[in-house]
Assembly symmetry: C2
Homo-oligomer: 498 residues x 2
């Protein structure tokens, strides 16, 4: 983009840009330019127009532009040199340099592994996903935290900090802040039919830590773990790094579907997403639930139930949790606040059988150390005062609308051999593609249109992987779902017509 | 304690209690009663005086008492029943039920392990330390975060939340918030002679996570790791849970002292605390540093330098870090903000060799997920605006004074065969006891006087463990150091005179 174009583009961007209503002008300018740099629309070395000329072109005050440029400079996006104006930095804050395609699902970038890593280190680092700062519409796993009531949250935090108890600054108790655990217990009992007392809840720093803790406390190096195939790769990675042998179990229309060959080699742990299989979206049937519970009870296996997005059910009656059906105390249930609140809050919860509660608290304290009690206390108030429930209702409405619009926009793909399975919950849709189709290539074609979707095969384990696209809609602005969805439908139709 | 006694005791407690100057009366009352319940001075079922009678006895308003009682009730410390008044609850928030003696250093409480734990799970849970809510004077590892400028911190957080960038609510970049990494880089270059670029820094959620990440990325199950003997047991536990074979290396007056028998079996990782050996307090000599660095370079081993309390150096010239002497890129350097800021902040940092930076960022993202960008941003400002440096100066003054008073109060113990090695830094002192002495018993005798110290033998590995007491002074109020120190000196003298 040249100078003149940059002004024009920026003017346009500020008009259509997806910003919270009360974001001040300097932040909109900053954010627009930052995104353009992050997405390589503004390339290193590009000279930016002067703040004076931009201010004129945009009809903003020069101070507004100066504030935006200062922040860009402070964060390393641009460099300023006397006499040569402001240029896009050639080394960005490193979040931008590596990741352009790093997030294509499960695709390893092993070339980045440094010499000296251990075998398990290479597993962790080689396949790890870099966070995409420049979140794009349709990236699964991203939620729209712009709807989060930040000013309410700020007041709650502020109240906590006005006169903090000394114990709130300490590590706190490994189980977590008691009023928060009470609030979660009430929520889980009512919304998810989880069967629990407060003592069974542990506050963790999120899903990865919850899975990690379960893997370490319940399994040993070399033990077998059942995972769904396809499977959430974040969980898979943590299990593998813990030295576990992954045993993939297929998923059919009733959820995880173990057969005789699977049963013959009992696992120590079963990792499953019964409410909304990740990524396929299937709900586990009652019969399959009973089967899994009985098998686990007979074999002394543990079931790890990851209820990662059950808050977002748009139709049908809510399903109870697997944990709530368990009579034998074999299920560990985990959830997260990152999807309802905001990802960086780093708070999740784990519900363990009563017998394990004390050991888990000790293990969590020893391996991870708790903390962030102030945030836990603010979250407890957020829940108790009813904000959590009303925020979920609001998100459900927003996401439900986005889902409906996306389903509608994608409907044409069923005419060329793709399948759009019905689903009433979650934050992503699956388009199933014929087995001959190269879904990685289709995802690349979508990326060329500025739309990031993940190939279903990237979640698969083994040779015969299902093909499809995982399309997150929680992050995309509602008014953009229809046009984006049409572009995506076109990409899919073109790919299948070849 | 009976009703009358409770009023009297509370009156006394409010007078001498160690509270921040501006803590309101209801919080002082709450805190005093909470502590009494936590330390079992008020036993379950004990009936508390009515708020009316307490208000009269203490000369406080009844509303003050009502507010205190309400909080105690909300947090589960007391129960109220119509007609029978308010009683101490029989099941406390569970932080209080288990831990009375759980913190005696390294002493296993394996009976608590639930059936179903894995071998590594039993290691983690069986030996894990429960956090002691009721922190007592002289407990090592506790710092006095009552000196932390909470209102300044609140303003900085509040500023961040006033208008948060969307990216600050996301997981953020695995390396951490760039301005914070810059601020840390500057600090480490100047204060610790660490040799680094910003790209080498990762923000972690603390020391345990830093050690865990290094163990996972650099070692495999079954690999050998050198640890100091005696050693920080928090580190030991994380290394063991990662399946590493611990090889203890003795510590002499020059720090970690590997001999020929050690050299013959090279480790993959060396965990060391060169600036201030934990727990003995020795500073590693120049010769020993060179030896370790050369050996690591020759053998391709990694050195993990835990610089856990180097901010607190009271005399002598500051020592440079081992990392700063390393020419071969074998040292990973880690530090924490929990001792300078407050423990629950859950932020630490890891400096890795340039070649490993990218892999570590990926591994951290995959295994732990980053987050808490708002707090990182507030901390960056705290450092950049000079508050960090002035807070350290203030803490250094406070802790230096406490150290001096404690050394003076303990001086008499040298007359009965104990040794008080000179040391000019850190947050704890060591009293070395003769080898025939049962230091666990001496620690128990101190505990009976209300003083918690840890036996040195609890940090040892193997049969021949050094005897002594580890005495933290950072948490004890300055005016109480002398009287508490004298009690402790009396306990030691009595024990050695038997």
């Amino acid at each position: 983009m040249e100078s003149l174009t940059i002004s024009e583009w920026l003017l346009n961007e500020l008009k259509i840009g997806r910003f919270p209503a009360r974001m001040p002008a300097h932040r909109r300018v900053y954010e627009s330019i930052r995104r353009a740099i992050a997405s390589h629309h503004l390339t290193p070395g590009t000279r930016l127009p002067s703040t004076r000329s931009l201010a004129e072109a945009l009809g903003l005050s020069r101070n507004t532009l100066l504030a935006a440029f200062e922040q860009l400079h402070d964060e390393g996006y641009v460099i300023s040199q006397t006499g040569s104006g402001t240029r896009v930095a050639s080394t960005f804050p490193d979040e931008f340099t590596e990741q352009k395609n790093a997030r294509a699902a499960g695709v390893a970038d092993a070339t980045k592994s440094a010499a000296g890593l251990s075998k398990r280190g290479a597993i962790a680092a080689g396949l790890a996903e870099q966070p995409s700062y420049e979140v794009q519409p349709f990236a699964p796993g991203e939620d729209d935290f712009s709807a989060f009531p930040t000013q309410l949250w700020r007041r709650l935090l502020n109240r906590q900090w006005r006169d903090p108890q000394p114990s709130h600054l300490d590590y706190g108790h490994a189980g977590g802040y008691l009023p928060l655990r009470r609030a979660i217990a009430n929520y889980l009992r009512m919304s998810r039919a989880v069967n629990l007392t407060v003592e069974q809840i542990l506050i963790t720093s999120g899903t990865q830590q919850s899975i990690d803790l379960c893997a370490r406390l319940l399994t040993d190096h070399g033990d077998r773990v059942w995972v769904e195939n396809p499977c959430y790769w974040g969980a898979r990675r943590v299990l593998e790094v813990n030295g576990l042998q992954l045993h993939p179990v297929p998923v059919d229309d009733e959820g995880m579907a173990p057969g005789n060959a699977d049963f013959r080699r009992p696992p120590r742990l079963i990792y499953t997403t019964p409410s909304h299989q990740y990524p396929k979206g299937v709900v586990m049937s009652y019969g399959r639930r009973r089967l899994l519970l009985d098998y686990a009870a007979n074999q002394g296996a543990w079931i790890l139930e990851d209820d990662y997005d059950s808050e977002f059910r748009f139709e049908g009656r809510p399903l109870s949790s697997l944990q709530g059906m368990d009579q034998s105390g074999r299920v560990l249930y985990l959830g997260t606040f990152s999807k309802v609140m905001y990802p960086g809050i780093k708070l999740g919860y784990l519900v363990v059988p009563p017998d394990l509660a004390e050991s888990f608290k000790r293990g969590l304290y020893e391996l991870q150390r708790p903390g962030q009690v102030v945030i836990q206390a603010a979250l407890a108030e957020f829940i108790e005062e009813g904000h959590f429930a009303s925020h979920i209702r609001r998100l459900r409405q927003i996401y439900g609308e986005r889902r409906r619009l996306l389903q509608k926009a994608l409907a044409p793909v069923t005419s060329v051999g793709a399948r759009l399975p019905p689903a009433g919950s979650g934050l992503h849709l699956v388009v199933e593609l014929p087995s001959y189709c190269d879904d990685v290539r289709v995802a690349e074609l979508a990326a060329e249109q500025g739309l990031r979707v993940y190939p279903l095969s990237g979640y698969g384990i083994g040779e015969h992987r299902e093909k499809g696209l995982i399309i997150g809609y929680a992050y995309a602005a509602t008014e953009r779902i229809a046009p984006y969805g049409r572009i995506l439908a076109d990409v899919i139709q073109a790919a299948l017509s070849h």
